[in-house]
């Protein structure tokens, strides 16, 4: 596992305390897990995602991520309808390890209320929670 200062927390996404990130573009929001989360999990071997068309609440479980060490639930940072899933992760789950904010994105949702993004943490505030 890496030290916190070796991890990457870009400022173009917002973070949930449960370690998901969200990047908005109008009412479309892409969701993935943070560099810290992927580093803690270790080699990711399987990701279970919802189906396009599913409507989920904020904080609701939208999938699971399984690594060689653990299985963790994924929680949706903002409510909405799933409009796309990254189905390349089925065959290449390691993308989440290699590029958590890029190729390793997980789902895209049409946010019910885009202002929910404001409730999430900025990169500095998120890093502060990690430092505890």
């Amino acid at each position: 596992m890496k030290e916190l200062n070796e991890l990457n927390f870009p400022d173009d996404v917002r973070y949930a305390e449960s370690h998901e990130w969200a990047r908005s573009d109008g009412d479309r929001v892409k969701v993935g897990i943070s560099d810290y989360a992927q580093d803690q999990l270790g080699d990711i071997v399987f990701i279970e995602l919802p189906e396009v068309g599913d409507t989920l609440d904020k904080g609701e479980e939208f999938g699971t991520v399984e690594s060689v060490k653990a299985v963790s639930e994924l929680y949706l940072p903002v409510a909405g309808e799933v409009v796309a899933i990254n189905d390349t992760l089925e065959d290449a789950p390691e993308k989440v390890n290699n590029s958590p904010y890029g190729d390793g994105w997980m789902i895209e949702i049409k946010a019910e209320n885009p202002s929910e993004m404001d409730d999430l943490l900025g990169n500095d505030a998120y890093l502060a929670t990690l430092k505890g």
Binding site: F46, E48, T64, E66, V71
Partner: protein
Amino acid sequence: MTAMRYLPHTPEDIAAMLEAVEIESLEGLFAHIPENCRRKEALKIPEYLTEWELNDHMDTLAGSMAVSPEYKIFMGAGSYEHHTPSAVSFLLGRSEFVTAYTPYQPEVSQGTLQAIYEYQTLTSRLLGMEVANASQWDGASALAEAMLMAIRISRKKAVAVSSAIHPLYRRVLETYFEPTDFEIRELSYLSDGTTDLSPLKDMDDLGAVAVQSPNFLGCMENLGDIAQTLEGQKVLLVVCFSEPLAYGLYKSPGQCGADIACGEGQSLGIPRLFGGPALGMFATKMKYVRNMPGRLVGETVDLEGKRGHVLTLSTREQHIRREKATSNICTNNSLCALAAVMYMATLGGSGFKKLAQLNYDKTEYLKNALARAGFKLPFRQATFNEFVVKFPTGFKKTYRRLLKKKIIAGLPLVGFYPELKDHYLLCVTETITKADMDALIQEIEK
């Protein structure tokens, strides 16, 4: 306390252990249980017997049952009399295999893990599926788990179940579903003995359709037709069975398009013992493996590149993810699974086919003989080693007379299907001879 050889602890052992935990007597171990919850007087059980007295007692109990070879049993209905090659009994009795528990630790369990892996491989081949688990308790629980799995995959809340599935399997399924909000819809059977699929077209909210083939009435379901009916819909086809030997002759569930194949494996080298043990066989397609219940052994290599076996995909199981597990059962019926794999390997592919053909041919002989003797075979669909006969009203008396002559003339179906009065389910396996069948006909005609 009488020190018996079954009890591993001597009075000295017990005294030493009590001393270590600083308690004076065994009674002290239960001191934390409230007085009013404790039984004061001793259990009312008989005194122990000597070994020879116990043997006598067991012989008397055994003598009160009708078992082969003393009785000629023309009854299957989910439990089948087959000859078990001596090699199977010998291998199965080896101490390396006779253990009550399944292996967690690959470092010390390679033999058992490999044997389970071979069981999974042969089960997959027999059922025509891509992956099989390490086994479930029995055919009934395998069916129930299959339906829960189909609900997880389809995300629907209703399943359709053929009434020609073993009635006891359906009862277990109902028990599993009772506390859930999932719905079971029954599909009745047609006059040819197969399941009526016509109601399916009006059910657009189904997650799965389950049929048994050969079904409880002995009839082969038209699995290909069912698969075709369901094609393009998100409805899983669950094919259940109680006599897997049939797939030595007939197409396997997988060949017919089943998404899940599940059922009872008792007929593969497991004796018919009073009530058990049984073997739940369970197989599916690779794309559904993460939703499959039960243990799964996989193949891998160790640090030196040598082949080895380990439990795999354990994240499906409740010791890793309790509330998210695919099943609340997190073990397998290992010894029975080993009996089945030894049995299948001993027969081999061609032996299995020959044995299936022999069962079929003998059954056809009895069907023809009964038809010639004027008895009605109400279902015209093809059968394997079981079929239904309608005897004349009042056959009950004949049935009892035959029983006195140590012939069991099938299973009366009226208890399970009230509309099938005077209908009996008969079974013929390789252990029944032509002379046995001729004797049965002769006695019935008297």
